[in-house]
Amino acid sequence: MKEQQLNESAIQVEKEEFKKRQRRDKLKQLLTISSPIFILLLWELLSRTALIDPRFFPPPTKILATLYQMGLSGELFTHLQVSLLRIFAGFLLGVIPAICIGLLMGMYSPIRHFFSPLIMALMPIPTLAMLPIILIVFGIGEFSKMVTIAISVFFPVAINTAAGVTNIDNIYVDVAKNYGANAKHFFFKIALPGSLPVMLEGIQMGQAIALLTIVAAEMIGANSGIGYVIWMNYKAFLLPEMYVGLVLISFFGYFFSLVIRGLQSKLLPWK
């Protein structure tokens, strides 16, 4: 009897503790949402009172209204579609070979020693600086934009994948050997899952770089896409329209990050 009471009070204590934790989590969530809202409000206020120049910093409500208008005309949607297609195709074009080469580099040290100086030497070159060459080789069509993205995504993913494999604890390699794993088993049961956490970090980075690259590439050498929208409206001094482009980029960057974060917890239940 007494024991049961004690047990119940222990549960009570833990329940209180749990509720406290929940409240703390709610507060943190609130903070996360409130900081962008706070900045937007501040911006709105300063812009409306002309404390900052509304020609350069139009109030967010005006940007939203512009977004709505541009959305109605349908042209914005086409640009968005073009950019997203370039990003997706370019992303895949870069990530797939990056994972393959990264895994091979991680697994076989001769391959690693062969490729790593090439990667180290090519990585610091901004992909945009190679854009003229890319345009010459791949033409001015869609494919050259995808190649630009692919190249910039390739490096962080390949490097992280290789690092992910080499960082796998040797003992798991020994276990696999001792239990008779052949090269294929080793690849699929040890190297791939073991390197996945670090590889996904690389993919997260690659995604951010892909967005940066597409916008810059479209500003320089395209006549469609979000980067083009930003650039054209800037040149025409239509700043609210330019901000619409920036807002869209920001939104998609955030959205892709969330998707990859979700993918991470799906793919790594053991972490």
């Binding site: 276990v175 001792n178 239990y179 996945l196 790594l268 053991w270």
Partner: protein, 259 residues
């Protein structure tokens, strides 16, 4: 050398060499182990026990000397090792870890499932079969390692301090289980331990190693009848004398290596 020798080691030496610095881990180990024999290796920490086992497991090559292991059945794996620590693969569930060796051999799915379930139950982890190792305690992980080796059903079991991280009860259960499996299947077992009691309870023969570089300095046959109990060993005069003997030897080696 008798006709049913399972493992032959001849003048085995292993030196680890790095940047002008060399460590002689084991030195001139010559040894025959009979088919079906249960051999325990006792020795001070760092004397090369793990190194010896890793050479037998094919994970390390000896610097000089020869090893020969005689395979009798071609469809069984020759040897499986229970690693001293951290041998459980974190991205596989308990079930997948235990089935690992069987999957590598492409056995039928049904057989893999049956065998791994059987040994998961034997080590008392059936409730945890679907969990990942991060959710297990140290001792539970070690039991996964043990189940994986048993399930693989090799001709030779190489066990590197498998029970060191377990509580007395689980240790007792698994010792019994190991002896059952050994008696049923006549496996050859090479077992490293720090516990003299455990060695006496389990083995046909105890090999005593010196401190670094590891050599086999003494051999003791334990011909107590089986099944053995701790009580029967404790009450046996001869064994009590052996215990003291081994104890003094280890004491001397540890002190020697620290002096």
């Amino acid at each position: 050398m008798s006709s049913n020798t399972k493992i032959e080691l001849d003048q085995l030496t292993k030196i680890f060499y790095k940047r002008n610095e060399s460590v002689e881990a084991i030195k001139n180990i010559s040894l025959d182990i009979e088919d079906g024999e249960f051999v325990c290796i006792l020795g001070p920490s760092g004397c090369g026990k793990t190194t010896l086992l890793r050479i037998l497991a094919g994970l390390e090559t000896p610097s000089t000397g020869d090893i020969q292991i005689h395979q009798s059945e071609s469809e069984k794996p020759l040897q499986s090792m229970v690693f001293q620590e951290r041998g459980v693969i974190p991205w596989m569930t308990v079930e997948e870890n235990v089935a690992f060796g069987l999957k590598m051999r492409h056995l039928p799915k049904k057989e893999i499932k049956e065998r791994s379930d059987y040994y998961i139950k034997k080590v008392g982890l059936e409730k945890f079969a679907k969990l990942y190792p991060k959710e297990l305690s140290g001792g539970m992980k070690q039991r996964v390692s043990i189940a994986r080796a048993f399930a693989n059903d090799p001709e030779i079991l190489l066990m590197d301090e498998p029970f060191a991280a377990l509580d007395e009860q689980n240790k007792f259960i698994l010792q019994e289980e190991l002896l059952n499996i050994w008696a049923e299947t006549k496996k050859t077992v090479l077992f490293i331990t720090h516990s003299i009691d455990e060695a006496m309870l389990l083995s046909d023969r105890i090999l005593l190693m010196s401190s670094q570089p590891g050599q086999i300095v003494k051999e003791k046959k334990i011909d107590l009848p089986r099944p053995r109990t701790m009580e029967s060993i404790r009450s046996n005069e001869e064994m009590a004398q052996e215990f003291v003997d081994i104890w003094q030897h280890l004491q001397k080696e540890v002190q020697g290596s620290r002096a």
